[in-house]
Symmetry: C2
Subunit: 248 residues, 2 copies
DNA sequence: CGATACCTTGACAGGAGTCAACTGGCGTGG
DNA sequence: CCACGCCAGTTGACTCCTGTCAAGGTATCG
């Protein structure tokens, strides 16, 4: 008995993670800012931010900050991969985003962080004190617009993720995840680099490790993807994957 | 056999919906802006916004705009209740937020809206062209900060909702929902006004109508809540409800 | 090369979904 | 005014997708 697939429409997939990629910075790495209310005049204000703060290397599983810590700074991932997550009292974990090079975090926080940030692999992260950011906004009002555009993108991604978590099946979730990463994490040979564990993926998609593993296997058996060494994935049949993702 | 409850910690619940309540405006109705990076100098810039645009009455189930429409304006709910939702091609629906008086929407949009907005009950909504907002931001740079604070609150609520959708059980979801509304939708007698249907609640919590109804019944049988006429709910035992919500 | 962590696979269980019937309120129209 | 139809809500019976528990495989690393 082969894997049975639903029918569905082929549509562009969601493309953004929770991380705020500043438009105009790191061309080719960051996602494009939506051409909305704030994005129309986004300059390269981020070049200023990049020169600020100190870059630091975080080891695998080392935390940048924890839920409840005072939110005194914003962070910018230069290289590597960072996970953001929230916990329930009994230990259930929901990953709310993965951040890659060029992404920012910590902008959307109150006095204290509402989530924990950890390096998935050794990662270089720049820490920028909040006072610096506010001061810079005073100097350059355009920066506020840039940040608004970045937060817009982040919020839209969050809404897309709510649709996924609330209404998609396990298979649709994984297919959506793979296609989202197809746009963000392709290496030179067109393969997707997924350095995070099955548990991480499960906690991001609202599933268990076992279910993620089973769905990976089914996609592999159906020749839709190929699992390569080093956690890389090759998308063999993107059309089928798009159908499976049920993207709006 | 009575309803069996889990044990858990009593913690403050999530309190915000997807709507962006502008801090400083409509005291007592809007939620407080987090005292974060942008909120520290949020003035009453929103008074200016309130004077702009035209207020209009929308009937029950009438849409303000649909997913895919050009995002030419932002909207502010003056009175009533509005639902925001996304659809999958096959009709599955995820409500990403309910907006009450004082809430804004449409700030976080690209060229086109990524969700549909509909009045749940007859609602008065102010429509403010985007050009007005951008112009006003040029005049008053502080407005950008206010908007950033508002979007921060919205994003934090979205992340809390991701935790709910991805990791909470049906009972925990409903308990969380009731407590969230306890802070937002209390009437004079301390009861919660829930004008939306069971289907709306289900689509907001990632459940089905039947499951929502069953959990309501269980809470009622356990004397934790009382279902009143007119869609009102009285929270009899908030402590138990907090335990059930498993809020972090 | 052994220890450990991660992944995969199998067997089984259970929570939520599906399908269906029944109830009650409400508006409409005979 | 009351009957009817309609819709939302509730409840029951049953299904099934995903979770749980457990075992075995494989890669990594000291």
């Amino acid at each position: 008995m082969g894997v049975q697939f639903h029918n569905g429409n082929v549509k562009p997939s969601l493309h953004a993670f929770m991380g705020t990629t500043l438009p105009g910075s790191r061309p080719g790495l960051g996602m494009e800012a939506p051409l909305g209310i704030f994005g129309d005049r986004a300059g390269d204000d981020t070049a200023v931010l990049d020169a600020m703060g100190e870059a630091r290397l975080f080891d695998r599983d080392q935390s940048l900050f924890a839920e409840g810590d005072a939110a005194n700074a914003v962070y910018r991932v230069m290289d590597g991969l960072v996970r953001l997550y929230k916990l329930l009292p009994d230990g259930r974990r929901q990953i709310i985003g993965f951040l890659r090079g060029g992404d920012m975090m910590g902008l959307a926080a109150g006095e204290r962080f509402a989530y924990t940030a950890e390096a998935v692999v050794p990662s270089t992260v720049r820490r920028i004190p909040r006072a610096r950011v506010t001061a810079l906004m005073d100097e350059r009002p355009a920066l506020a617009r840039t940040l608004l555009a970045a937060m817009t993108a982040e919020l839209m991604a969050a809404q897309e993720q709510m649709l996924l978590l609330g209404r998609k099946t396990a298979r649709e979730k994984l297919a959506t995840f793979l296609l989202a990463n197809d746009e963000r994490a392709q290496d030179a040979s067109g393969r997707i680099d997924l350095p995070m564990s099955r548990t991480d993926i499960a906690d991001y998609l609202g599933l268990t490790t076992e279910t993620v593993s089973r769905e990976f296997t089914k996609l592999k058996t159906a020749r839709v993807i190929r699992l390569m060494e080093g956690g890389k994935v090759e998308l063999v049949d993107r059309d089928t994957l798009s159908e499976l993702a049920e993207c709006a």
